[in-house]
């Protein structure tokens, strides 16, 4: 279902059709994408990446990659009609390759590892052209791999996410992160996932269909949007549910039962 170029995911995230008159809806907000083994939520990251480049001329993305190399994202975004290489050349896309990151182990303070990563983010932001500093999105793919890099220290990961979150409140940047909720939901530390959910302003939960695999519907999405008046707290909570199908060059979103 398209509405003046906006699909259901755009509407759920708060995008408006008239982008020039409306502020970037993810400004100062933390979008948490939760997925599972059965249904990957990476497409949501790709969608937001593409939106951040196409909807705003003066925006930039700082991408922390813990899961895939840049070629992977380049290929995926190319199919969606977005050229990451040219965005990088234009100074709007900073790719921080964290695939080989391994934080220091015993004997050395663990937090130094992630503190250094945060320093890199701050340095990348400082190197941005002033024009592109207005709407910055920091993307983390993904939190589970970040925890592996931090030697399993969930506390260090939460500290790191807190620091990234301060970028949203202090500078109005957007933070987007992907987490694999099935790793934590039945484990000994469900509190780790809940801590991050508390922090999130928008929760995008991607699940398989309850009825199993299907050819025309690849999964279901629940978008929980906390409208917050930061001073006072939550003013309203909007929940939207819809289905999706990942195609070769785009993703289709539609309400359940509207597929013909």
């Amino acid at each position: 279902m398209e509405h003046q170029g906006l699909n259901l995911m755009d509407q759920a995230l708060g995008f408006h059709s008239n982008v020039t008159q409306q502020p970037w809806p993810l400004c100062g907000r933390f979008v948490l994408v939760e997925d599972c083994v059965d249904t990957s939520g990476a497409f949501v990251l790709h969608h937001i990446l593409k939106r951040s480049f196409t909807s705003r001329p003066s925006s930039a993305v700082i991408f922390l990659a813990f899961a895939h190399p840049i070629n992977h994202y380049d290929r995926v975004l190319r199919k969606l009609g977005c050229n990451l290489s040219s965005q990088r050349d234009n100074g709007r896309f900073f790719f921080l390759d964290m695939l080989m990151l391994q934080c220091p182990v015993e004997g050395k303070p663990k937090h130094d590892g992630l503190a250094t990563v945060f320093e890199k983010i701050e340095r990348a932001i400082s190197e941005l052209h002033p024009e592109n500093k207005k709407f910055v999105t920091v993307v983390i793919d993904d939190i589970s791999c970040l925890e592996v890099a931090a030697n399993g220290s969930s506390n260090d990961v939460l500290d790191f996410l807190h620091y990234c979150y301060t970028l949203t409140s202090e500078n109005g940047y957007a933070l987007v992160a992907l987490n694999h909720q099935d790793i934590y939901s039945d484990g000994e530390r469900p509190a780790f996932m809940l801590e991050i959910e508390y922090l999130a302003d928008i929760l995008v939960k991607v699940d398989p269909l309850a009825t199993g695999l299907a050819k025309d519907v690849h999964g279901q999405v629940m978008v929980l949007n906390k409208e917050t008046q930061k001073q006072q707290g939550i003013s309203s909570i909007k929940v939207q549910n819809f289905h999706f199908k990942i195609k070769e060059n785009n993703i289709e979103y539609f309400y359940a039962g509207t597929r013909t």
Partner: protein, 368 residues
């Protein structure tokens, strides 16, 4: 409007006693704890500025919100933050709680000379030092005399994550015992901690305000409000448990609703019964019996029971046509045996003898 709680904090502490301590407890199923916290913060601040409370100042320990959000909150509610008589100080444990941002300078805790009401705190894991800093800041607000100040901690959960349950419980105890502290209040997310940690904080609190969903979920898990058909996504219940000086516990309940203008409280509505009834699954048949139905049911005469009042009764046994059976009578009797030489059906109605016992398993006598 959570009046009793605001009043307790406003009235403060009696000489020789522990300061009142409020813990606001919420969960992801009703994540409005910060709304309640903000409301109480604004109310108490108004009382302090108006000179109507025992506290003459307030120290806010901000861990989960930026200090600027608090100054913005107070200004938005008409509370003068920048008055000439300094009454508020915000200890910033949010911006750089571990000193990461100043790694090159290693400057430690800074007093920002340009901002009179804000101090940075960068060693949030050291709870003992935090206690000293809070006391120093409070004394800086009200002086060394007998004046008192209150303390607000916006995330006890964050503090417990950085340290552990024991230091935080100890901090709360020390704050309550301090001779210049009038009252303290803090916010805690109950689904982030073990039961014993929650219990420890609740024991050290004199008032526990629990932010609960409007309708309790069946599974009781701390899951987010995921059901989009839930009509009350912005409503909930505030259950307040206060410990009185004489040892009695007072429990009250209010409904609250959040919106763009803030949070509002109301007594629990009388339509709770209807609301509860709405939770019963709707099926297409009625499982209950009305009065009339009960009476009619008791009047139903079961087959093979004594009936006819002495007159012979005709029973159709299914082997002959109805016409033939009409020419024969098969007298029956119930309750006593007769040696008539013919087949009889003697029926004793079990259900009249004893009341149904729900504990009994009717299949107990089965021998399969």
């Amino acid at each position: 409007m959570a009046e009793s709680v605001c009043r307790s904090l406003r009235d403060g502490v009696l000489e020789g006693e522990l300061a009142p301590a409020l813990t606001i407890k919420d969960s992801l199923s009703s994540p409005f704890g910060f709304n309640v916290f903000s409301h109480i913060l604004v109310q108490l601040s108004s009382h302090i500025v108006a000179g109507k409370s025992q506290s003459r100042g307030m120290v806010i320990v901000s861990l989960s919100r930026s200090p600027s959000s608090y100054t913005g909150l107070l200004k938005m509610n008409g509370v003068d933050v920048e008055s000439s008589k300094k009454w508020i100080h915000i200890l910033d444990c949010y911006t750089d709680p571990l000193g990461w941002k100043d790694k090159t300078r290693k400057s430690g805790d800074i007093m920002d000379p340009s901002n009179q009401i804000l101090s940075s705190y960068k060693t949030v894991k050291d709870v003992n030092k935090l206690f000293s800093v809070i006391c120093d800041l409070g004394r800086g607000l009200v002086g060394e005399n007998k004046s008192r100040f209150c303390v607000a901690i916006d995330s006890l959960s964050e503090l417990m994550r950085h340290s552990s349950m024991q230091p935080v419980a100890s901090l709360l105890s020390n704050l309550r015992s301090h001779d210049q502290i009038s009252s303290i209040f803090g916010l805690l997310h109950s689904d982030l901690h073990e039961e014993r940690a929650l219990a420890a904080v609740e024991y050290t609190s004199s008032i526990v305000a629990s932010v609960d969903p409007f309708h309790h979920s069946v599974d009781g898990q701390g899951s987010y409000i995921r059901n989009s058909s839930e009509p009350n996504l912005t409503k909930g219940k505030l259950n307040i448990r206060s410990k009185r000086r004489n040892g009695r516990v007072r429990v009250t309940c209010e409904e609250f609703k959040v919106g763009p203008s803030g949070i509002s409280f109301a007594p629990v509505s009388a339509v709770d019964g209807a609301a509860v009834a709405g939770l019963i699954p709707k099926v297409q048949f009625n499982l209950q019996l009305s009065e009339k139905e009960l009476v009619d049911r008791s009047r139903v005469v079961l087959p093979f029971e004594h009936q006819g009042n002495g007159k012979p009764i005709q029973i159709y046994d299914g082997r002959r046509s109805l016409e033939e059976s009409n020419n024969e009578t098969t007298p029956i009797s119930g309750g006593k045996k007769e040696d008539s030489g013919r087949g009889e059906i003697i029926y004793f109605r079990d259900s009249d003898d004893e009341m149904p016992d729900s504990d009994e398993d009717p299949d107990d006598d089965l021998d399969i």
